[in-house]
C-alpha cells in the first residue's frame, strides 16, 4: 500500500454508490483516508469513507500471494460443473470480465440486486413502458407521484437535486411542484417544498398496492367504480389523484422496485406503467424507475449487450440461456444446483455472499467480514476510489466516469477476473 501524507482534493467526483450517481462531490484524500467534504450524504459517505483493512488475499483464512489466490480460484471454477458468478457489483470493465469468465466456464451470471431489478425487467419484457430521466425530471416535473417507495432513505439527495432545484429550463416555479405519496409515507422531510408544503400522503399497506393501482388506472380511464373505499383509501382521494394526473402537463411517477417487496410486485409495476401509457393518450406522463445502486444497472446493461439477455443467464450449454426464475443464483445455491460461487462485491463491505456449502471465491471490497470464511478471498479496489471506471446511473441512459482517487495498490475486479480466466 502506498503511503503518502499529501492531501489531495478532488472536485466533481461521481458516486457509484447510489442510483442517482450524483457527480458534484468534493472529496479529500489524505494517504489512504477518503473524506467526502462537500455534497455528501449517508450513502455516499459510507461508500467513500469505509477504510481499507485487509490487503492480502486469503485461502481458507490464511494469507497468500495474489498469484496463489488466483490459481486456487481458477482450480475451484475448473473443477465445477455448474459455477455461478454472483453479486456482479463492479464497474463496466469488472462486469465485462465477469461475463467473459462466465462464457468461458459455462457459468450462470446473476446480480446481487436481481430480485429488485427483475420487478422492472419483467415489465419491460412483457409490455414495455414510457420513462424519463433525471434531468428531464429536474426541469419538467409538475406532479411527482411516488408509489410504494420511501425515496429519501435510499436516494437522500433526490429532492434537492431533482425537485426543489431553484431554477429550471422552462420558467417553472419549482417550489409549487406537487408531490404525492401512494403507499409508503416518506421517512423524512426532504419531500417538503421550500415553502413548507408537505407532500400529500395516501397511505396504504404494500400488500394493498395491487388493488389500489388497479382502481387508480381504472379511474384514469374514466371507469365507474362502485366501492367508496379501497384498502382504506377513499375513492374521492383516488379520483382526485387520477384527475391531477390527467391535468398535469408532465407528471412523473417514481417507484423504487427495491422497496416493493411483496409477492409479484412486477404485476403492480406493470399496472402502473400501463396507466402511464394511458395518460399519454392525452397528456405527458412518465415513469421513473429508481434503482441502480452499486452498479446494478451496469450489470443488466453489459449482460444484455454482450449476451442479448440481462442477468440470470447461464452459459452452461455453450450459448446464452436466459431464465429469470431457473437461474436465480440464490435458489441455485440453496437447491444444490450450483457447485461453486464466484461472488463479486467491490462497492459495499456489507454485501457478502449468501451462505452456501459450495466452494466460494469472494472478489470483495477490503474490509469485508464473513460469518463463513470463503475458500478464497481476494480484496479488490473500489471502482471510483482505487481505480478508474464507469457506472450506469439508475435511469440507465447515463453512465458516469469514475475516477481513481488514491493509490492503494489493490487490484481491480477486472484485473482479478481476467487473471482467473487466463489461469483456467
Amino acid at each position: 500500500m502506498a503511503e503518502s501524507n499529501d492531501v489531495c482534493v478532488f472536485h466533481e467526483v461521481a458516486s457509484p454508490f447510489c442510483g442517482i450517481a450524483s457527480d458534484d462531490l468534493t472529496i479529500e484524500v489524505s494517504g489512504q483516508t477518503v473524506s467526502v467534504i462537500e455534497n455528501g450524504d449517508a450513502i455516499t459517505k459510507k461508500g467513500f469513507e469505509t477504510q481499507i483493512t485487509d490487503t492480502e488475499p486469503r485461502i481458507d483464512g490464511q494469507e497468500v500471494s495474489l498469484e496463489e489466490a488466483i490459481a486456487k480460484a481458477a482450480d475451484i471454477v475448473n473443477a465445477s460443473q455448474q459455477p455461478v458468478i454472483g453479486g456482479m457489483a463492479s464497474d463496466i470493465n469488472g462486469i465485462r470480465a465477469a461475463m467473459a469468465l462466465a462464457d468461458k466456464t459455462g457459468a450462470t451470471v446473476d446480480s446481487m440486486d436481481s430480485d429488485s431489478a427483475f420487478r422492472n425487467l419483467l415489465v419491460l419484457q412483457d409490455t414495455g413502458w414510457m420513462t424519463t430521466t433525471l434531468t428531464e425530471v429536474r426541469n419538467r416535473v409538475d406532479l411527482l407521484l411516488v408509489v410504494g417507495s420511501d425515496i429519501e432513505a435510499d436516494y437522500p439527495r433526490f429532492y434537492e437535486r431533482m425537485v426543489w432545484n431553484e431554477v429550471s429550463l422552462f420558467d417553472q416555479d419549482t417550489s409549487s411542484r406537487d408531490v404525492i405519496y401512494l403507499g409508503k409515507a416518506p421517512s423524512g422531510d426532504t419531500s417538503t417544498s421550500p415553502n413548507g408544503q408537505k407532500a400529500q400522503v395516501l397511505a396504504c399497506d404494500d400488500n394493498d398496492l395491487p388493488e389500489v393501482l388497479s382502481v387508480l388506472r381504472a379511474l384514469v380511464n374514466g371507469k365507474v367504480i362502485q366501492a367508496e373505499q379501497v384498502s382504506g383509501l377513499t375513492l374521492v382521494d383516488l379520483s382526485d389523484l387520477a384527475e391531477k394526473l390527467k391535468q398535469a402537463a408532465y407528471s412523473v411517477v417514481a417507484w423504487a422496485s427495491g422497496s416493493m417487496q411483496f409477492d409479484h410486485a412486477e404485476v403492480s409495476i406493470q399496472m402502473l406503467n400501463e396507466m402511464i401509457k394511458d395518460l399519454n393518450e392525452t397528456t405527458r406522463s412518465s415513469g421513473l424507475p429508481l434503482g441502480g445502486k452499486e452498479g446494478s444497472t451496469s450489470v443488466y446493461n453489459v449482460s444484455s449487450w454482450q449476451s442479448g439477455y440481462p442477468m440470470r443467464t447461464s452459459f452452461n450449454r455453450g450459448y446464452p440461456d436466459y431464465d429469470p426464475y431457473l437461474f436465480d443464483s440464490k435458489s441455485m445455491l440453496a437447491n444444490g444446483e450450483a457447485d461453486s460461487l464466484v461472488w463479486v462485491s467491490s462497492f459495499n463491505v456489507d454485501r457478502t455472499p449468501p451462505e452456501t456449502g459450495a466452494p466460494t471465491v469472494v472478489i470483495g471490497r477490503s474490509g469485508m467480514t464473513f460469518d463463513q470464511e470463503p475458500a478464497v478471498f481476494i480484496p479488490v479496489g473500489v471502482p471510483g476510489i482505487d481505480h478508474a471506471g464507469r457506472s450506469f446511473r439508475g435511469d440507465s441512459s447515463v453512465a458516469v466516469p469514475l475516477r481513481k482517487l488514491r493509490d492503494s495498490g489493490l487490484p481491480s475486479t477486472f484485473d482479478v477476473l481476467s487473471a482467473i480466466e487466463q489461469a483456467l
Binding site: 442517482i20 414495455g128 420513462t131 434531468t135 449487450w305 439477455y309 440481462p310 446464452p320 441512459s397 458516469v400
Partner: protein, 555 residues
Amino acid sequence: MLTKLTGGRIIDPSQGINDKVGDLYIQDGRIIDPPSDAKIDEEINLRGKIVMAGAIDMHTHIGGGKVNIARTMLPEDHAADVIARTELMRSGCGHAAPSTLSAGYRYAEMGYTAGFEPAILPVNARQAHMEMHDTPIIDKGGYVMLGSDDFLLRMMAANKDQEAINNYVAWTITHSQAVGVKVVNPGGINAFKFNQRKLDLDEENAYYGITPRDILHRLARAVNELGVPHPLHVHGCNLGVPGNMGTTLDTITGIEGLPMHMTHIQFHSYGIEGDFKFSSGAAEIAEAINANKNITVDVGQILFGQTVTASGDNMRQHAGHSHAHPNKWVSMDIECEAGCGVVPFKYKDQSYVNALQWMIGLETFLLVDDPWRIFLTTDHPNGAPFTSYPHLIRLLMDKTFRNDIMSRLHPEAQAASHLASVEREYSLYEIAIMTRAGAAKLVGLSDRGRLSKGAAADITVYTEHEDKEKMFSKPDYVFKDGQMVVKDGNLIHVSWGTTHVVKPDYDESIEKELKPYFDRFHTMKLGNHKISDDEIIDDGRGSLTVQPLHAGGPI
C-alpha cells in the same frame, strides 16, 4: 510481413477500376505499391475471384441505449437464434437485435469491415462507445444527435449567430467522439415533451417558436462550415405518415443547396392516393434526388419478417405503438437532449402497406440514377436486420428474382406500383460504389473503401455466382487491416477495429456558457459529460482514427 493477393478481378470505383485483373500488395495493414525486390512472405491466389474493398454500413443501429433496450426486451427473438461459443468466438444471440459480439462476427463474415451507429445522444455516447468497443473486427463510429436538445433550441430562440452554433456543434462532436451529426425529427422530440404530437417542416415548437426548417438550416450550415465531411444526417419530419412525401420534397429543396444526407428515405416517401390512402411517392422523390446534387440518401429498405424498430424519434414511435408486434414498446424522454422509442414490428408480405413499403424502397434504389448518392441500408434493425443485405443485393441485381417475389405480395400493392416494369439491374460495380467507395466518401473515411496505395487493407474477396445472395453471403476471404479474418465464409481470426472520429476546431469559450448551463439545469457536470480519448482506447483494445476535415467555411 508482405502479402500478395494475386490475379483477382478488382472492382474499385474509387479509382474507376471495373473488373480488371490485377495484384494487391499488403504490408503493415496497408495497401502498398508493387515492391521492386522485396520478398513476398505470403501469396494468395485470387485468380477468377472478385476483389472489392471491405463493405461499409453507413447507417446501422449497433450500439447505445435504444439498441440495448431492444436487446433486453426481446428474449423470445434471441432464443430462436443462439450462437454457441467456439475456441475463437464468444457466444451470443439475436436475430433483430444481436449481441455486440455476434454483430461484429456476422458483419465480418458478410464481408463488412465498418459500421456506423447513426444516432448517438451526447449524454448516451459513453454507452454507445462501450457497446461498439465490444463489437469485434469492424471499424465503427457514430453520428451525434442534435436538434431537439434544449441548449441548441435556446441558442436559436436567442438568435445566436451561426458562429456560436458552429462552436457548440464542434464541441459536441469532439466530446461525444463522433464522426458526424444527425438530426432526428428536427425539434420534434423536444416538441413531444411539450405534448405536441406532430411537427411539420414549418410548424413551431410550442415553447421555443422554432421550426424544423430553421433547425435543419442551422445544423446543415454548421456541419458544412466546420468542414465535417459527412453532411448533416437527416431523419426528417413525419416518419411513416401517409402523405409525408410533400414534406420530404420540401425538405430537399428547402435546404437551398447545402449538403444534406436524408436517411431511410423509404419511410419518408409516402403519398395518399388510392383506396388505401397510401401510395408510393418514390418516383417524385427520386426525381428530386436526381435533380439536387447536394442530396444523398440511404434507403432503409424493409424486408418481410420479425424485427424491432429503434429510433430517437419517440414522437413518431409513440404514434405507431399500436402496431407493436409483439405488443410491447418503450418510449423515453432523455436528459433534455432527446429521446428514444423502441417498437417491435413484423413486416408482412400480405399487408398492403408493408408490401408497398417494400416496393417503395426498391423503386427508390432503381430510380435514383447516381449510385454515389444512394446507399444500401435497411436502417438495421428498423427495416430488417443487417444480415439480410445479401438478399437485398440480389433484389437489386436480379430483375427476375425481384419480380418473382413481387408477384407473391399483396395484390393491390402490386397494382399500385410500377416496380415490375423497371428494367434496371445493379451491376457489381454499382454495388461496390454504394457499399464501398461511395460510403467511405460519404462518411469521410479517407483511408477506407478503396484499394489504392495507402488505404487500409480492408478487402473482401468473393466467388462470382449467378445467385448474388449466395455470393454476398459467404466471401472467400475477408482481410481487416491486412489480417485475414474470414476464410470460406468462416471467421478465423478476431481483431478489434478502430473508432473513426473527426475533431473540428472550436473556441473553448463555448464552455463558459456550457458549464453554468450544466450546473444549473443538468444532473451531470460538464467535465463528466465529456468522453476522453482514453475511454475509447479503454482496456487497450480500442483506438481512435481522426479523419481529416474538408476545407470548411468560417468558424
